[in-house]
């Protein structure tokens, strides 16, 4: 999966799962605030990332990621390592 595919896939599953407008998912937006995540939502975030992108992020990964762009970087890195 290349970066463009990662971005397209991520926007689709995040907007579906967390019921946010897809246009709100902008590269430099804060992922945690945009998705309005509480502690339970991170559990679901792991599930949808694993189902749609094929890797399982850790809690440290979420701490290091603030913007969607940083998440796309993380996803690219994880998929390249797989």
């Amino acid at each position: 999966m290349n970066r463009a595919e990662i971005i397209e896939t991520t926007k689709r599953f995040l907007s579906e799962e967390f019921e946010v407008d897809i246009v709100a998912i902008q590269a430099e937006s804060n992922m945690h605030k945009t998705l309005d995540l509480d502690s339970l939502d991170y559990v679901d975030l792991v599930v949808v990332i694993e189902e749609n992108l094929g890797f399982k992020p850790t809690s440290d990964d979420f701490k290091s990621v603030q913007t969607f762009n940083e998440f796309y970087d993380l996803a690219e890195h994880k998929l390249a390592m797989a």
Binding site: F18, E19, V47
Partner: protein, 407 residues
């Protein structure tokens, strides 16, 4: 000081209809909610008969976080509670600032638990279950979800007592209000209908296999009955102190005047005359009324040979042969954990609209049902006072008496 306890709201999500207006029409017309479910055949059920309610779409009403912890019992309960809340003129703003409780009858979450375990078996990783399943899996799923959605501040629990769960839930709410410990309690009963919910019950051979015409299969008290038909959905009964209802100036649908209960202390599944007799008499004693004051008995009768016989004997011993009796399970099938609450709601609809819903499919009595006054067809009749029986596995019995409210 004891408080009078009244009913100010009912809501139904039933195989007879998805709201009280549709259910009222079904009750008047003796309409059955039973279907033949082919998927049960393929799954290995002995009987494919069931009551059916569709899965409600809650997206227009609830956020993702509110929905994610709900499986059938909580989803159905939300629908019936939403309707009851509107009738009782209750909303979140009011509930958040007052002390309102919830006691809901529920005794299984089989569908949700199996779905979760299937996920773990497939993925071999509990981190991939998701956050909602635990709240679907626990037996208290209804009160967990509804107390969160409605911001309830009072008593908060589920009540598990097999097929008497819904009735005991109302009874326990009644006792709390009567003693002045709560102003208002949202009571009810919920029952899942999925394939997994009733497989082990079907395995006992207790379900009707009269599958040629599903609407004829549930035939309480009839000589040719051959077993019960499982069913489900949810019923909500909102009860509050008379003082609270008058202060809020809301319509009063009825007054709870008696709650009798007992345990058979006997066989785990067989009914017991003595236990039922004690429950009925306790309710009458608490209501401080003569049996002749009861205008209608909504029987527990599920259409099993031994269960209906025992109840007919108990009703005859307590009331004699005059009081009109019907089992709405002839139309609904056995709504199990929900039944004790739904049958209060069905009977209230009858009381408000001056009729007795028919015990459909009652063609021929047996020796015991011949001794009581079973109503086989729609009957216009004033009801000032009714009694509703609920009995469950483990020998748990509950009888509630409701009167028309007179100030």
């Amino acid at each position: 000081m004891e408080h009078r306890v009244v009913i100010t709201g009912i809501g139904l999500y039933s195989c007879l209809g998805e709201n009280t207006n549709i259910v009222l029409d079904s009750l008047r017309n003796g309409k059955s909610g039973i279907i033949y479910d082919q998927s049960r055949k393929e799954f290995g059920y002995r009987s494919c008969l069931t009551g059916f309610v569709p899965e409600p779409d809650l997206k227009p009403f609830l956020s993702r976080r509110e929905r994610i912890g709900m499986h059938e019992p909580a989803m159905f309960a939300y629908m019936s509670t939403r309707e009851a809340m509107a009738q009782a003129k209750l909303d979140v703003d009011f509930l958040e600032k007052t002390e309102t409780g919830i006691i809901f009858g529920n005794d299984s979450t089989a569908g949700a638990v199996i779905n979760t375990i299937d996920k773990v078996r497939e993925r071999k990783d509990t981190a991939l279950i998701g956050s909602g399943d635990i709240f679907q899996n626990m037996n208290c799923t209804v009160n967990m979800n509804l107390s969160t959605i409605y911001k309830l501040k009072g008593i908060n629990m589920s009540l598990s007592a097999a097929c008497a769960s819904g009735s005991h839930a109302i009874g326990m709410g009644y006792l709390l209000i009567k003693q002045g410990l709560q102003d208002r309690v949202i009571c009810g009963g919920a029952q899942e209908i999925n394939l997994y919910a009733m497989a082990s019950f079907d395995g006992l051979g207790a379900f009707s296999i009269n599958q040629e015409d599903p609407t004829k299969a549930s035939r309480p008290f009839d000589k040719d009955r051959d077993g019960l038909v499982p069913s489900g959905g949810s019923a909500t009964v909102i009860i509050e102190s008379l003082d609270s209802a008058l202060k809020r100036n809301v319509p009063i649908l009825g007054e709870i005047v008696g709650y009798g209960f007992s345990s058979n202390g006997d066989h785990i599944s067989n009914p017991n005359f003595d236990g039922q007799f004690r429950s009925l008499n306790m309710a009458l004693k608490q209501a401080d009324i003569d049996p002749s004051a009861v205008d209608y008995v909504n029987a527990h009768a599920t259409s099993t040979p031994v269960g209906d016989t025992t109840e007919a004997q108990a009703i005859h011993s307590v009331f004699g042969g005059k009081v009109p009796v019907s089992s709405t399970k002839s139309m609904t099938g056995h709504e199990c954990w929900m039944a004790g609450a739904s049958e209060i709601a069905y009977s209230l609809l009858m009381m408000q609209n001056d009729f007795i819903a028919p015990n459909i499919n009652f063609a021929n009595p047996d020796e015991d049902s011949a001794k009581i006054n079973i109503v086989p067809e729609y009957k216009e009749q004033n009801i000032d006072c009714f009694l509703s029986n609920s009995f469950g596995f483990g020998g748990t019995n509950s009888s509630l008496i409701i009167k028309k409210f007179i100030k």
